[in-house]
């Protein structure tokens, strides 16, 4: 069996688990079952679920926040200030939601089965000029932030500005925005750190949730041996991913901040609590209300996430 896998961009920390999965699956089946990984050749990243639904390819990665209406159930994992502080926790929370019948039914509309998350650390903010040391200093700060994090920023008086990721570097260097919110690896790959003067170490306003899914029919059509090879490799692939992110990406991140002389802003617990109070509660309430209207067990999903993170 040969599967086509639709990813985008180029090979990076964010795709290491899929690369590892391909390696393991081929190994375990003696080359009988192979995954052909394509970076952007098969689909645009926002249309990967469409491609799965059509049956154009068998496996794909996407981010829930790209198109909330396509996958409302798993956007619960993108709510601000959930309190996730490690990739392992992010995996646990994601898998708890992925295994919930409501999420499976939600993705089932696309003929998709959730396989594994692509855990990202919490977003933080890189900026130019004087960094905001307190909540009140966010007032009027232009920041490139979208979706839930954009709303979180607006709640404390910052001015979220919309632009495509490829324009961000230039927009910050040229002063159109003063700050940018990304995960660390994206700050490095989009070059926002190059001219930055500050970085928030523990604001942790949230992150995006990017699952890897497979086409349900294709999954069912696998032989028992092939399915076993695939499913039994997920944990090892994720372990490889976490190891790679922590030991390659994050290892480069700290020294890079030092080398560039970027000021690291760390907020006190009281400051963070104030942030959470202003943002997290209202955002969660709004999410639950909106998604209950979609006939999702929204409260249940939210409680599940909070309980899993609290364990």
């Amino acid at each position: 069996t040969e599967w086509n896998v639709s990813l985008w961009g180029k090979r990076r920390a964010f795709t290491e688990h899929v690369e590892k999965l391909a390696e393991l699956v081929s190994e375990k089946t003696g080359g009988e079952f192979t995954l052909n990984i394509s970076y952007g050749g098969l689909s645009k990243n926002t249309e990967n679920l469409d491609g799965i639904s059509i049956g154009a390819f068998e496996m794909a990665q996407f981010c829930a926040g790209y198109h909330a209406d396509k996958n409302p159930s798993i956007t619960v994992l993108e709510l601000p200030f959930l309190g996730v502080d490690s990739l392992e926790k992010e995996i646990e929370a994601s898998m708890a939601v992925y295994n919930h019948p409501a999420a499976q039914e939600d993705l089932g509309r696309w003929n998709a089965t959730l396989l594994m998350p692509s855990p990202l650390p919490q977003y933080n903010i890189v900026g130019v000029g004087d960094g905001p040391k307190t909540l009140s200093e966010y007032e009027g700060l232009t920041v490139r932030a979208t979706g839930g994090i954009g709303k979180a920023m607006a709640a404390v008086g910052a001015v979220p500005t919309s632009m495509s990721a490829s324009e961000v570097r230039q927009a910050m260097d040229s002063g159109v925005v003063k700050a940018v919110s990304f995960a660390p690896h994206a700050h490095m790959s989009f070059g926002t750190v190059e001219n930055a003067t500050w970085w928030t170490t523990n604001l942790n306003p949230g992150t995006v949730n990017c699952p890897v899914v497979v086409n349900t029919d294709a999954l069912n059509a696998l032989t028992d041996a092939e399915r076993e090879a695939l499913m039994s490799s997920v944990d090892e692939a994720l372990a490889h991913y976490v190891d790679y992110y922590n030991n390659q990406t994050m290892k480069a991140w700290g020294p890079l901040l030092e080398e560039k002389g970027i000021e690291q802003i760390t907020y006190s617990d009281e400051e963070l609590a104030a942030f959470r109070e202003a943002v997290a509660g209202p955002a969660a309430a709004a999410w639950i209300e909106e998604n209950s209207a979609r006939n999702l067990p929204a409260q249940e999903l939210y409680d599940l996430v909070i309980a899993t993170i609290g364990e």
């Binding site: 952007g40 050749g41 469409d50 049956g55 154009a56 490829s166 927009a171 159109v176």
Partner: protein, 468 residues
Amino acid sequence: MDSIDIGIVVTSVMLVFVVLGMRVAFAAAGAGLAGLIWIFWAKKGYDPAQFTWALGVAVKTAGQVPHSKIASQALSLIPTFILIGYLAYYAGLTKALFEAAKRWVGWLPGGLAVSTVFATAGFAAVSGASVATSAVFARIAIPEMLKEGYDKRFAAGVVASAGTLASLIPPSAILVIYAIIVEQDVGMLLLAGFLPGAVSALIYGGLVVGMALVFPKFGPPVGGFSWKERFVSLPPALPILFVVVIIIFFIYNPFGGDAWGTPTEGGALGAFVVFCMALWRGMRWPQLRDALLETAKLSVMIFTIIWGVLIYVRFLGFANLPGAFADWISGLEQSPMLTLILILLAYAVLGMFMDAIGMLLLTLPVVYPAVIALNGGPDVTAADSAFGVSGVGCAIWFGIIVVKMAELCLITPPIGLNCFVVAGVRPDISVQDVFKGASPFFVADALTIATLIALPQIVLFLPGLLIG
């Protein structure tokens, strides 16, 4: 047949249809769709019972391309740049520019022709399309040159050739298209076009002066303008400068302060300034309606080729043809520079028969990855590369060269569109005359391209400032 063979067969059939006169956009989309059906059916072992499945998957895969690829912010620059060009006519900017250029540089040998080159370069800073630029100046500049006794072929050749400057000097629709296909920063490419465009204009200007010195019958200088007359001619042309400054400040602030916005906003704001100017100069709804219809027509023409070709590209992705071609090119046992020059020569031949935008869209999906691989890959440093430019640098540098190449083809027989346009505006001048008049500029362009290949710094200097 493996998927690469399918890729080659489908590509050949597409080229046959293009030669047969099928509209390029649909030939590409049709080839892409047929290729997708083939690939999906092959996956099922050509089982007749599975054909409808393969057809459905292929059609749905192709069917998502138009919307998903076109709904992009970067592409919005194309219609904006086209609109600016049309509005500029109504704003009276073209005549003002030519008049100012005449008073300032008319005293040079071949003065009116030199003025034409520089006025065109100035207009290029608001116009995004070559053909339209040549058409305008054929009406404004040729009558004046003939009145002063300029050689007819020479005058026509200058106008046809100078029009090509519009595609290098920003704004340029074709550079935006290139940036989108190769997924590079649009602002960076626009900025990169500026110096090569200016160098081109200077080479054209120098060539005209040289020719006028050697053959005085080509055209006399026009002098006798007082300094007062010169300065008086500037204000009407100033809006051009204003628009240029706006667009530049939206890409990059030369004084080190904050830029005013993104290139997307800059293009749109430039259009707004020209629009206000045109309103002030008396443009009303009937003229605006015409400008909007023309903009819509040219935009839809370009966008249709874009999504058509992108359906074909989607098929190439499933067939993995670009990867295979890149492997083949970078595996050739000859110097990378020789390969690059052969690729450019192939463009010169293709350009004799095809439109610039269609040609780039059809070939870049395969040629671009090959050129990048030839240079040493997308992440190569300048020091380790074959052409002495980094991965990103190579993307920009090759873009400017290939666009200049495509523009050169607008003045080569048999289908040099700019020459036909000039001959069309002036019924008294035959197409052959225009081609003859443009032939020295062909040599100048070849020189320019050689210079750009030898000195990538000319292309990469301004984008380098942006990267810091």
